[in-house]
């Protein structure tokens, strides 16, 4: 057994990753980057799930992680398709210009 890495480190890493994802989602303009930020957040949450699962010796966290990965895969397929269509129609991927819902 290697030295036990304290659980707080995992959680801190997860929080940092999530915060980076949030920051990327909020501040980046390119829609692909925003999309990647969402993936980052999802995976940060996955890390938390695994950590707690390991810590509590419970399988539930693993199951949730797999669920999230499946949903993320599906979401990636749909999301990329939407992004492709948007680019075809608008020749732009800047997120601020995609605001036709306004008014």
């Amino acid at each position: 057994m290697m030295t036990q890495v304290p659980i707080s480190w995992f959680l801190t890493l997860s929080a940092v990753l999530f915060a980076l994802g949030v920051a990327g989602f909020l501040f980046r303009r390119n829609i692909i980057t925003v999309f990647m930020s969402i993936e980052l957040m999802l995976n940060a949450v996955n890390l938390s799930f695994i950590t707690f699962s390991y810590h509590h010796q419970s399988i539930n966290g693993h199951l949730f992680a797999f669920f999230v990965m499946v949903v993320a895969a599906a979401e990636a397929a749909v999301g990329l398709a939407i992004i492709l269509t948007i680019f075809k129609n608008r020749q732009t991927l800047t997120i601020d210009e995609i605001d036709s819902m306004k008014n």
């Binding site: 949030v22 989602f25 909020l26 501040f27 925003v34 997120i95 601020d96 995609i98 605001d99 036709s100 819902m101 306004k102 008014n103």
Partner: protein, 617 residues
């Protein structure tokens, strides 16, 4: 006896002329309009001869009109002696006036419309007279009001004529309101509106209820018969063509109130307060209107106020219990007042529309027939024996003396004023020198022949139609004893009135103006009709209009109702305006809100978990 034919014939005339009259030639319109009324008159004569001596009423039931719960109202016509008098007056005078109108309206537009309305009026008036229950009477009552409105506003391109029509209609609504309430009370009290049924039960009802009914019916009669304080519409009604003034606003429709009150005599005799009120209103109106008539310069206005005044006499008669005298005066008044109006129409026709007495004068040689016939009416209305007005007015004054002597004396003074204003109008029109500019021409025979017939009736109507004897059996009212001295006084009053008029307007023509300036304090309010129209305007019309405009329109409608509706709309818009800022379409701002919300939720959970209650785990 096919009573329904009597009103249906003029109705048919109305339908034919009203629908197709535009395409008819004048002779066809004349044939339809006059023919229908003459046929109706003939049918009245045939019916009455067939029913004579008409000791008891004769009723025809046609169909049940309203059947609902305890309400059972039939479409019934009835003829009794009172109806007989009214039928003869309405169809007889109506026929003459229709014939006269052919000449008078010859040069007017809307010829077929005029005769259609006149026939419609005849229909409703005959329904009113023939009705055997209050509701059917009310149908006729409202119908003649409608025709009155239509014919007053006949020259509908002139503002004053349409205003006068509206005024007549609106003022009459006040009276009709009272009449309706009276009918409701009759129904509640007696459970029926049939004359026979109601009058049979009337003596058994309490005096208080009968008094209420009598007073409410009196309100209705005051509206229709132009009594104080609702008389104001009648002088303005002269805006209509002159035959209309003669038929509707002198001879027939305005007497409907008198007829209705006389018809309700079994109620009235058990309600002395209502009768006293009626007599007081009548004598006050008679005096009041006659005093205004003294100084008017429009020939039709003089006769209009005269009509109001004479209707006041009829009210005195009915109110004093001399029902037959009231009806007698109704009949003689129909003769001589229709004649005065038709004569005035003939004068106006001769002068091509001139109505101002100051622009007439010296016409007696130029329009001889008109002059002679109007003179007959003038002596009749002045109460000179043995002409028609003398008998009926004398009968009323006699009853008034036995009721309350002060009414008699006021009536005598009014009789003097009546003689004065009529002869003033006659002298100003026919004597002296001609003051106008046009060339007067005598009216065609179609106009003066009806005048001549009415003149004969005015002269001898009182001698040959002894209405009190005829109606004695109907009203069962005791006749006051004859009194020669009272009769002499009232005749003397009339003669004095004529002499004063002769003195002021013939002997010393300059005297009228000097009198007017000497008695300016008296002349001015009289000339301005006691400012009654102005008072009504200030006290009723202005507050109503102002209240409607500022309270109901600007306040309630525009302020409250529109304000709340618009306010709800504006509120939704404002709230939406704030909310729509959230829906920016900017994905990153959405994300910010999500983040903000998540943080808030986490903070809330953190705070909740520290609370002693446990909170959300």
């Amino acid at each position: 006896m096919q009573l329904w034919l009597i009103p249906i014939l003029p109705l048919a005339g109305f339908v034919i002329n009203g629908l197709f009259g535009r395409r008819f030639s004048k002779s066809v319109i004349n044939a339809v309009a006059i023919g229908s009324v003459l046929l109706s008159f003939a049918w009245v004569l045939k019916t009455l001869l067939g029913l004579s001596p008409l000791d008891s009423g004769y009723i025809e039931h046609y169909f049940t009109w309203i059947q609902s719960g305890s309400i059972n109202i039939g479409c019934d016509f009835a003829v009794d002696r009172l109806t007989a008098v009214m039928l003869l007056v309405v169809t007889g005078i109506g026929s003459l006036i229709h014939i006269y109108s052919v000449g008078y309206m010859a040069h007017e537009g809307g010829y077929y419309r005029f005769f259609a309305y006149m026939n419609l009026f005849m229909f409703f008036m005959l329904v009113l007279v023939l009705a055997a229950n209050y509701l059917l009477l009310f149908v006729g009552w409202e119908g003649v009001g409608l025709c009155s409105y239509l014919l007053i506003g006949f020259y509908f391109t002139k503002k004053f004529a349409t205003d006068a029509g509206n005024k007549a209609f609106i003022v009459n609504r006040i009276g009709d309101f009272g009449f309706s309430l009276g009918m409701f009370l009759i129904f509640v009290t007696f459970g029926s509106l049939d004359f026979g049924n109601v009058f049979h039960q009337a003596p058994g009802a309490s005096t208080a209820v009968l008094t209420k009914i009598g007073l409410l019916l009196l309100v209705g009669a005051c509206g229709k018969s132009a009594q104080l304080p609702l008389y104001v519409w009648l002088p303005d009604a002269m805006a209509g063509p002159t035959p209309v003034s003669a038929l509707i606003h002198a001879a027939t429709m305005v007497t409907a109130g008198v007829y209705m009150m006389a018809r309700s005599w079994p109620i009235l005799v058990n309600a002395p307060v209502a009768m006293d009120t009626m007599a007081v209103i009548g004598i006050a109106t008679a005096f009041f209107a006659a005093s205004i008539g003294l100084v008017q310069n429009d020939i039709k206005k003089v006769f209009a106020y005269s009509t109001v005044s004479q209707l006041g006499y009829m009210f005195v008669g009915v109110g004093c219990g001399a029902f037959s005298a009231g009806i007698w005066h109704l009949m003689t008044h129909a003769f001589f007042k229709a004649l005065l109006f038709l004569g005035a129409g003939s004068v106006i026709h001769a002068l091509s529309g001139e109505q101002d007495l100051r622009n007439m004068g010296g016409l007696r040689s130029k329009i001889r027939w008109t002059f002679l016939t109007m003179m007959c009416a003038a002596v009749a209305i002045a109460g000179i024996p043995p002409f028609s007005g003398f008998f009926s007015k004398d009968a009323i004054l006699l009853a008034a003396y036995h009721h309350a002597p002060w009414m008699y004396w006021l009536g005598v003074v009014t009789a003097g004023m009546t003689a004065f204003y009529v002869f003033r109008a006659m002298f100003l029109t026919f004597f002296g020198t001609y003051r106008g500019h046009g060339h007067p021409h005598e009216s065609p025979p179609v106009m003066w022949v009806p005048l001549a017939i009415l003149a004969v009736l005015s002269l001898i109507g009182g001698l040959i139609f002894k209405i009190p004897d005829f109606l004695q059996a109907f009203f069962h009212a005791p006749e006051p004893p004859k009194d020669e001295s009272l009769m002499m006084i009232s005749v003397a009053s009339g003669v004095i009135g004529i002499l004063i008029a002769w003195f002021v307007y013939i002997a010393k023509p300059a005297m009228a103006d000097s009198l007017a300036s000497t008695f300016k304090w008296l002349y001015t309010p009289l000339y301005n009709k006691y400012y009654v129209d102005e008072i009504y305007d200030a006290m009723v019309v202005k507050p109503l209009v102002g209240g409607s405009r500022w309270v109901l329109w600007k306040g309630a409608d525009a302020g409250l109702i529109d304000g709340s509706v618009n306010g709800v709309g504006a509120l939704a818009q404002k709230v939406g305006g704030v909310l729509r800022l959230l829906q920016s379409g900017n994905i990153r701002s959405y994300a910010t809100w999500v983040l903000f919300g998540s943080v808030l939720a986490i903070v809330a959970m953190a705070i909740a978990s520290t609370l002693p209650l446990g909170g959300i785990q």
